[in-house]
Point group: C3
């Protein structure tokens, strides 16, 4: 089944793999931003923005490829949906890094900080799983372990999110700080959810192919 | 028009009806959670989670049926959209119950409590209407009264939501309590909106069939 | 290419143009609401609601036209998506006007007020661009300048949003006021994003046609 547009240019799977590699870099930068000084954070956030912007361009190329390729490896709408899920993951990672800088979130109460760090670690593991498995998307049925693992990580992420939210409310911090921390904790949860959406979209493709 | 997959297994309409019955149970549990003690709430919330989880499994079966059935009663995307709307209704009900427990929302000011109870009552009436009418989805044009009534309930819900939000801000409660109540009032409004989305999706199907 | 349903009734492009004209009126009303007294605001908000309601009816007619027209000028789903993007723009404008009234937002700190006014001005410029360009949607490739300009406005809007959010947190206002202003600033940002979504949807149609 020929799905490249001739021999020139990357395939869908090449582009998806680039997106996944970007997610790994993005998650690592997010972890760095959390622990950096206010001064270092700005440069790290700018770097994260650059990666997110690269991701947008790759996403754009995928959309063009979807529209211009005659025979696509899956339904056009499935390819578009995978691209869009990968893009969502990056957007939430970028938004989280951005919130930390824009809100000037500092001196996070220790009880909240460790849980936020755990949320980011779960996102990093989701990104690693994605980068490791997305090249095998050609045979979606082989990805069963991937979507099971991403579901497991999302469940773990959900528990951590709930503990982080409770810790935020119980921290005794002033209301403004609580508003800011709540936004951060919530966007990290949205990032984990976005990875689960990616996994379930891939599962849907596998069901169709089976 | 044969739309069951042979004679084994439930039809789309059977599965949609199961989802609607779950919504009725979910809305009843939500009303119980609001008025229960902190101790009772946890068990009620766990029960609500179970029902939401059953809903996910039914939703999964609908998706499989959509992908595996050769002749479907409506366009595949319409069946998927109805399933997804029913799922959204349940998710918001579940999220509302969960917020009450997770945030430890107690001693709700009386002015806010009665309006929150009214929001939940409207959700229960939406669920009843859905359970009563969804078996007739085979002839979507007969469901005109249903979608008109759900639109009416959504309008009523919207007014109640606005009064609840104003009452929250005017309650004199501390900022943290206001943040929590605002989240609850908003997710209840999202549940009502989700029922309206369901109704307008069914209207779209009816227009196509007419 | 015949895409009207016979000669009676407006075409897709007529209806899209009506939606765009409504967006211009809506954005102007929003600017008036911001600067009106609490008393004047209610009537202005009611007027905005009326326009939003007209938009819903036009949207409804577009959906009917999509379902009942045999040969459509673009893919059915693209027409539906453009209609839905226009509808989103109006919904966020309406929601912003509504928040100002419902929250009773008054005495906005000057540092925040000027930035909120700037956000609304950017929305007005997006609406003007849309009204000016949407009649040319028949030849989507000619709309390149439009989507480039809407992307530029969204970037400008994003910077203004961030400054408005920072100004809100730095305003020294009480937490309840900050919660209200933050909601307003955020929904204005969502309106600008909705215009960008419209532009990128039109770009997608153009790529397909090219």
């Amino acid at each position: 089944m020929g799905f490249r547009k001739g021999s020139e240019g990357p395939s869908f799977f090449d582009l998806f793999s680039q997106q996944a590699a970007n997610l790994v870099s993005g998650a690592a930068l997010l972890a760095s931003i959390l622990d950096a000084s206010a001064q270092e954070r700005v440069a790290l956030r700018d770097h994260l923005h650059e990666i997110e912007h690269q991701g947008d361009e790759i996403n754009h190329r995928i959309a063009q490829l979807v529209n211009q390729t005659f025979v696509t490896p899956f339904d056009r709408e499935d390819l578009g949906a995978v691209a869009s899920c990968l893009d969502d993951c990056m957007d939430f990672i970028d938004e989280a890094g951005d919130l930390i800088v824009m809100y000037g979130i500092e001196n996070i109460p220790a009880s909240v900080h460790s849980l936020v760090a755990e949320q980011i670690d779960i996102i990093a593991r989701c990104a690693d799983q994605t980068a490791h498995n997305i090249p095998a998307l050609k045979s979606p049925l082989d990805l069963r372990d991937f979507w099971v693992e991403l579901n497991r990580l999302e469940n773990e992420g959900d528990l951590t999110y709930r503990r982080a939210l409770t810790a935020t409310f119980d921290s005794g911090a002033d209301p403004i700080t609580i508003i800011k921390l709540k936004d951060l904790v919530e966007v990290l949860e949205e990032a984990t959810d976005a990875f689960e959406n990616l996994a379930s979209r891939i599962e849907t493709i596998a069901v169709k192919e089976s």
